[in-house]
């Protein structure tokens, strides 16, 4: 193996190593952890006391159709 070939292999390995290192670095920036940074811990002092269950209105997901009332209506027609 002559000196020139040796240098070629060395340069190729350096390039591949640099690409791998940068790939790993980018993955750490664009991963789930980066997109959803850890929220700071909430101290108990800042946490509002939950309202009693009977004071919180219940929100159903969807209001559905109703059974009709059978009557003779008196709307304006």
């Amino acid at each position: 193996m002559n000196r020139e070939t040796h240098m070629k292999i060395k340069a190729t390995l350096i390039g591949i190593s640099a690409v791998l290192a940068l790939t790993a670095g980018l993955a750490s920036f664009s991963g789930t952890a980066a997109a959803d940074p850890k929220k700071p811990a909430v101290t108990s002092a800042a946490t509002p006391a939950p309202a009693p269950a009977d004071q919180r209105p219940v929100v159903k997901t969807t209001a559905g159709p109703n059974e009709p009332v059978v009557v003779s209506p008196s709307y304006t027609g």
């Binding site: 240098m7 640099a18 929100v59 159903k60 159709p65 009557v71 209506p73 304006t76 027609g77």
Partner: protein, 234 residues
């Protein structure tokens, strides 16, 4: 030669870096899906509810439940402030609002709303931003117009006389005729209902109510809840 190789490796690395950054930037800038338009409907828990003129203010009036048709009293929520809800009221004058305590009601949500274009004699039912049903309507005559405004369904009625003027079903509205203070023994309440005169649909023919085909009102009865918002415009 060595320099060339090093330059090639550096260029490849730079290209890879740029590609990654662009991809990362575009995924960050991707818009969130538009949230669907929904309304809150408040159903009265007890046999009556106190309505306030302002939050924690003086009681304005008491409204009973069920209503005169025997349906659970509902309100369309215009503003939700946690313990207090500002609601559209089914009283004169049209568009009246008041505040109720959230603890006095249960809340439900609907993505449906009904829009009525008087000028075009058309109704459209939206599910969020998507039109899911539309058709022709008859509106009030010149002397008894259908007033524009924001209303909600107060009850669903199946008329005893299925061949009568109200057709297959009628949804009472929270609004009233600006002209008729009483009608047929009632308080001049507006409604969207079917008809036994389908030929009049597409014209000004009613005393203020909105008439639609029996197929359309039957579809509404099977799909829409009382409390669903109705906007009359045009």
């Amino acid at each position: 030669m060595r320099t060339n190789l090093l330059r090639t490796a550096a260029a490849a690395t730079l290209a890879f870096l740029l590609t990654g950054c662009v991809g990362s930037a575009s995924s960050t800038a991707r818009p969130e899906p538009a949230s669907s338009v929904s309304s809150k409907i408040a159903s009265v828990k007890g046999s009556r509810i106190t309505v306030y003129k302002s939050k924690e203010g003086v009681a304005q009036r008491t409204i009973t439940s069920p209503n005169d048709y025997g349906a659970t009293r509902v309100f369309l929520v215009e503003r939700d402030e946690g313990k207090w809800l500002q609601v559209l009221l089914p009283i004169r004058p049209n568009g009246s609002k008041g505040w109720i305590k959230a603890t006095d009601v249960t809340l439900a949500e609907t993505a449906y709303r009904v829009e009525i274009d008087r000028g075009a004699f058309r109704f459209t039912v939206y599910d969020g931003d998507r039109a899911v049903r539309s058709g022709k309507v008859a509106t009030g005559e010149a002397g008894t117009p259908t007033p524009p405004g924001r209303y909600f369904f107060t009850e669903l009625v199946k008329p005893v006389d299925q061949g009568g003027a109200y057709g297959a079903y009628a949804f009472g509205l929270s609004g009233f005729s600006p002209v008729l203070k009483s009608f047929a023994g009632g308080p001049g309440q507006l409604a969207i209902h079917g008809t036994n005169k389908p030929s009049a649909i597409g014209t000004r023919a009613s005393h203020g109510c909105v008439r639609i085909s029996n197929d359309d009102i039957t579809w509404m009865a099977k799909n829409l809840a009382i409390g669903t918002p109705v906007v009359v415009q045009g």
